[in-house]
């Protein structure tokens, strides 16, 4: 068997991990093992007693063994947490920005259903976008896991499809740490939860079906007991009185309810979202203010033309946070509503 893709991923990962945590690593020409030389605290984090140790892909007594089965993945988690930052900030330069046609862009992109809109002004600026990655674990009787990413315009909170920038984009590191990250995290979590629900639908349905079957089995069983409560005692042949029947049936009913709630408890889903990485991308954009007039009330909204996507970004529904280009507005506060929320 040639080196499996998992094995090459492990080798590549371990190499980058050591190098990014302040150590050096030197692989033998056949790629079967390497020697790592690292600072004492890194050695300790990787579970090694010496500053110089072997890194190997095959099981062995000494050194760091790269495998999914052993403890390597956990050691790596600890090391990453202590030695490798997980927040980055980058700028995307040299993007052409067309400021002049913004009014037309707004008008052709958006639909304002029950309000008048007036495009006020547009200005070119650099806008921060926050790309969050979450490790999502969904647990019931079984476990489901995924890596979910959400990228938001940190100014408007609108979701934009830009997470691929981290691997594909032409990025320049910047010196300023991202700002407002707790606000975007909050919103990104909300979106990630919705995304989790979408991705995990087959899993959820399977667990649903299983719980349903278990419930039915319990109900059938206790229903049978209910029916039996009026039958005479086999040995003594005595027929139960009406009170006896009633109290027996009551007991069976209570027991069933207890069993069912136990069952429900067992099937409860707990979902954990762990933020893994935050990348801020500073991207040129045109910020455009639009005045919305609904009856007597007026309100100004800011929308963005994204130079990376080369189009207008949508707005978020004030109720469900879903993005859309098509809005209704409330009377008093002129809150934007998507067609679903408007209809309900």
């Amino acid at each position: 068997m040639s080196r499996s893709s998992v094995e090459s991923q492990l080798v590549e990962f371990a190499t980058a991990l050591v190098e990014n945590s302040g150590g050096i690593i030197d692989w033998q020409s056949d790629g079967s093992q390497a020697t790592a030389i690292v600072p004492p605290d890194l050695a300790e984090s990787l579970g090694q007693h010496h500053e110089s140790f072997l890194v190997r892909t095959q099981p062995g007594d000494e050194g760091l063994v790269l495998s999914l089965g052993g403890e390597f993945v956990d050691l790596a988690a600890r090391t990453l947490r202590h030695f490798v930052p997980s927040v980055g900030a980058f700028a995307v330069d040299d993007l052409p920005v067309r400021k002049t046609e913004f009014a037309a862009a707004v008008e052709s992109s958006f639909g304002w259903q029950n309000a008048r809109a007036k495009v006020l002004d547009g200005s070119v600026m650099t806008v921060p976008y926050h790309a969050w990655w979450f490790h999502v674990t969904l647990q019931s009787e079984e476990t489901w896991e995924s890596l979910v990413s959400v990228t938001l315009n940190a100014r408007s909170g609108v979701v934009v499809p830009l997470s691929e920038l981290l691997s594909l984009g032409d990025l320049r590191p910047t010196k300023d740490a991202p700002s407002d990250s707790s606000a975007t995290l909050d919103l990104a979590l909300h979106v990630a939860e919705a995304e989790t629900m979408r991705q995990a639908t087959p899993f959820l349905q399977r667990i649903d079906a299983r719980r349903e079957r278990d419930r039915k089995r319990l109900q059938d069983y206790y229903r049978a007991l209910q029916r039996e409560s009026s039958t005479p005692n086999k040995r003594t042949k005595t027929v139960p009185t009406a009170e006896e029947i009633e109290s027996r049936q009551k007991a069976v009913k209570l027991e069933l309810q207890r069993k069912l709630s136990e069952l429900d408890e067992r099937y409860l889903f707990s979902a954990v979202l762990r933020p893994i990485v935050l990348a801020e991308f500073r991207i040129p954009a045109v910020a455009i203010d639009v005045e919305i007039q609904r009856k007597a009330e007026k309100r100004i909204f800011r929308v963005y033309w994204n130079a990376m996507l080369k189009k207008m970004e949508p707005m978020s529904c004030s109720r469900c946070l879903r993005t859309s280009f098509n809005f209704w507005f409330t009377n008093d506060t002129v809150d934007p509503l998507c067609s679903t929320c408007h209809g309900s």
Partner: protein, 671 residues
């Protein structure tokens, strides 16, 4: 009127829980489609707290790490890439995940028949190998199933296993220590000095198919499996309990000793006194079993295949063909008598390699089925050397009162293999019979005449029936199966003459040609001629009709043919036609399978369970051949087939009993 800033913030304001970044106990509740609450929580403890900003590579490093964690979680299976023709179904994938994650590689796979236990086991095997979690693997299966396992491991999963050779080599420790992947029949493994040799080696994984044979702790097989040094073990059976619950205890004790405590404890806790088939404390038992056993049922998996209809079309041969059938069989019988009475020295025994013979294009010299073929025929008596080469006892029916006394052990002039080839060829087509008789014709005048007569019959009775059937089936996509390549060639000319367009799919073709043949059937023609290997691994569910032009003697092979189209993904009703010439051995086999075990109504997979019950037995083909050999006339043959039928029926009843018991016992509790 609000300011711009306020307008922008309104989006954030809509989220009621703002301060989650300071508090990892953020909880929000959603619901599954079926209404089960889902509590969402955020955990910031893993989020790196270093002050520096990360480079792009460092961020990627975190993401790669998470992906590795997902891989470790076995949500992404490595084994699914690069398979050939394995339609892995959702429940099978689930099972693989469960076994890796929850069961830590020790499991009783007890799916109902036909749901693909073998595929699950092979996927798991591959996954473990790819992840380098295991290296040395031992697979133990009943003798009648060895060749099928070997073939599937190789063709579908690309895993080469060494079949333990039936030589002294297998008794030596070195063999088991030096080969990393060994496939061996249970009956062979447990006899002679082999148990010690196998137990001396260390195994990463042991797979036992039809594991209910290990249900009794006093048997050699149980002791063998129990003595093996192994890390992981998969036990496979659709019917873990055959007679009583203690069997389950024995089985699971092999898997996880102590899991069910002692036998006395187990009986006390879980077996109703006076009725060993009736469990007590079902919930507790269910919980305990759930930790070591997975059982997928049809009910949950919802594989509902469309109905299947089978029909036997008996072709009555014309006088010439009919007489030929009688004469060839008589000739073969006379040969046997001659052989039996001949002195060893006068016999010019042939040395035939399997390849010279066209009995079955899929037979390979390495399979255990082939091992017995080299033996010279001795007499109608057959046994003892015709019993399983592993040394298992002969089947009861063969030891019955009708059995003639064993005679001498003289080498014979006609090998079992040739006898089998000739008998199957006359069941296939006269043209094929002629070709198979040819080598004998060169030295025997009687054979030469028979050969010539067979060659003269240009249209057999079945030919006519086939043409008629194809004309009636013109709106269907039809697979015509033949066992022999010569018959295939014969049918090619037959269809060409009749101006019926067809494609051909045979073992001798390249993979590209095979794909092209399937494509042709899909788009432009309605008939595809197939040899035994026909369609293995290719999606043929668009076809709805299967014609068995001839009939393999091995029911597993017949079932494989049916399984090509009557499987997951088939949406239309399936029609099966068995063509058969009256007076042939095939007509008896067909009658047996049809009347006794109603084979054509069985779920695909059940034949294996039935034959698997003939654990110590030979493969079915050897049995049939043996019956023919020892019967002096048709009347006796009828009686012997009746006995074989009863044995099969008993094996089926044993299977059905266990199946019903297990269904009642386990219900849908262990999916």
């Amino acid at each position: 009127m609000k300011t711009k800033i306020a307008a922008t913030k309104s989006v954030f304001d809509a989220n009621p829980e703002k301060d989650i970044a300071d508090d990892s106990a953020h909880v929000r509740t959603s619901f599954s489609p079926g209404g089960i609450p889902i509590r969402f929580r955020t955990d910031l403890s893993e989020f790196s707290t270093t002050k520096n900003l990360a480079t792009r590579e460092q961020l990627q490093l975190h993401l790669t790490h998470t992906r590795l964690q997902l891989l470790r979680g076995f949500d992404e299976l490595l084994c699914l890439e690069g398979l050939t023709g394995v339609e892995h179904l959702p429940h099978q994938i689930e099972t693989v995940r469960k076994v890796m994650r929850r069961f830590r590689g020790r499991v009783l796979l007890a799916d109902e028949v036909g749901l693909g236990k073998t595929i699950e086991a092979c996927l798991l095997l591959r996954e473990y190998l790819l992840r380098r979690l295991i290296k040395r693997v031992l697979i133990l299966v009943p003798n009648p199933l060895v060749s099928q396992w070997h073939e599937e491991l190789s063709s579908k999963f690309h895993l080469d296993f060494r079949i333990a050779p039936r030589t002294a080599t297998s008794s030596r420790d070195e063999f088991w220590a030096t080969h990393d992947r060994v496939l061996v029949s249970t009956s062979f493994a447990r006899s002679g000095r082999r148990p010690e040799a196998i137990a001396a080696a260390h195994w990463d994984l042991v797979i036992v198919d039809e594991a209910h044979h290990c249900r009794n702790r006093s048997t050699k097989l149980w002791k063998l499996v129990n003595s093996l040094q192994r890390r992981h073990m998969f036990l496979l059976t659709a019917t873990p309990v055959q007679n009583n619950l203690v069997e389950l205890y024995s089985l699971l004790t092999l898997l996880e000793p102590g899991h069910l405590k002692t036998e006395a404890d187990f009986k006390k806790q879980f077996v109703t006194r006076g009725n060993p088939r009736d469990p007590r404390n079902r919930h507790r038992l269910r919980d305990l079993l759930g930790e070591v056993m997975i059982r997928n049922t049809r009910g949950l998996v919802q594989i509902n295949l469309p109905p299947r209809y089978a029909q036997t079309i008996m072709a009555t041969p014309g006088e010439e063909e009919s007489q030929l059938l009688i004469d060839i069989q008589q000739y073969l019988r006379d040969q046997l008598v001659t052989t039996a009475n001949a002195s060893p020295n006068t016999d010019d025994a042939e040395q035939e390699s399997p390849e010279e013979l066209d009995a079955s294009s899929t037979e390979s010299a390495e399979t255990p089925d082939a091992v017995g073929w080299d033996q010279r025929l001795t007499s109608r008596a057959g046994p003892p050397e015709l019993t399983s080469p592993a040394g298992g006892p002969p089947l009861a029916l063969l030891a019955g009162p009708t059995l003639p006394e064993p005679q001498n052990n003289e080498p014979a002039g006609i090998s079992r293999m040739r006898l089998h080839a000739i008998l199957t060829s006359i069941g296939s087509h006269p043209a094929t019979a002629a070709a198979t008789l040819q080598p004998l014709a060169e030295r025997d005048e009687r054979a030469r005449q028979l050969c010539e007569r067979a060659g003269r019959i240009t249209h057999s009775a079945k030919d006519e029936k086939l043409l008629q059937l194809l004309k009636e089936s013109h709106e269907h996509k039809v697979l015509v199966f033949v066992a022999s390549i010569r018959t295939l060639h014969r049918l090619q000319s037959l269809l060409t003459e009749a101006e019926i367009s067809f494609s051909t799919f045979s073992g001798e073709q390249s993979s590209t040609d095979k794909d092209a043949a399937v494509e042709q059937l899909k788009s432009s023609v309605n008939v595809m001629l197939c040899t035994e290997s026909g369609g293995e691994g290719r999606n043929l569910q668009f076809a709805d009709t299967l014609i068995n032009f001839d009939l393999p003697w091995n029911p597993m092979k017949i079932e494989q043919r049916i399984g090509r189209i009557h499987r997951y993904g088939q949406t239309q009703d399936v029609f099966i036609f068995n063509l058969c010439t009256a007076g042939t051995l095939e007509s008896r086999i067909l009658k047996l399978l049809n009347d006794k075990i109603r084979m054509f109504e069985l779920v695909v997979g059940e034949v294996g369970s039935i034959l698997g019950n003939l654990d110590d037995g030979q493969d079915f083909e050897s049995l049939v051949l043996q019956l023919w050999q020892k019967a002096p006339d048709d009347k006796q043959l009828d009686a012997d087939f009746e006995t074989l039928g009863d044995t099969l029926l008993a094996a089926q009843e044993k299977y059905l009993d266990a199946k019903n018991l297990d269904e009642a016992l386990f219900g849908e509790d262990y999916e």
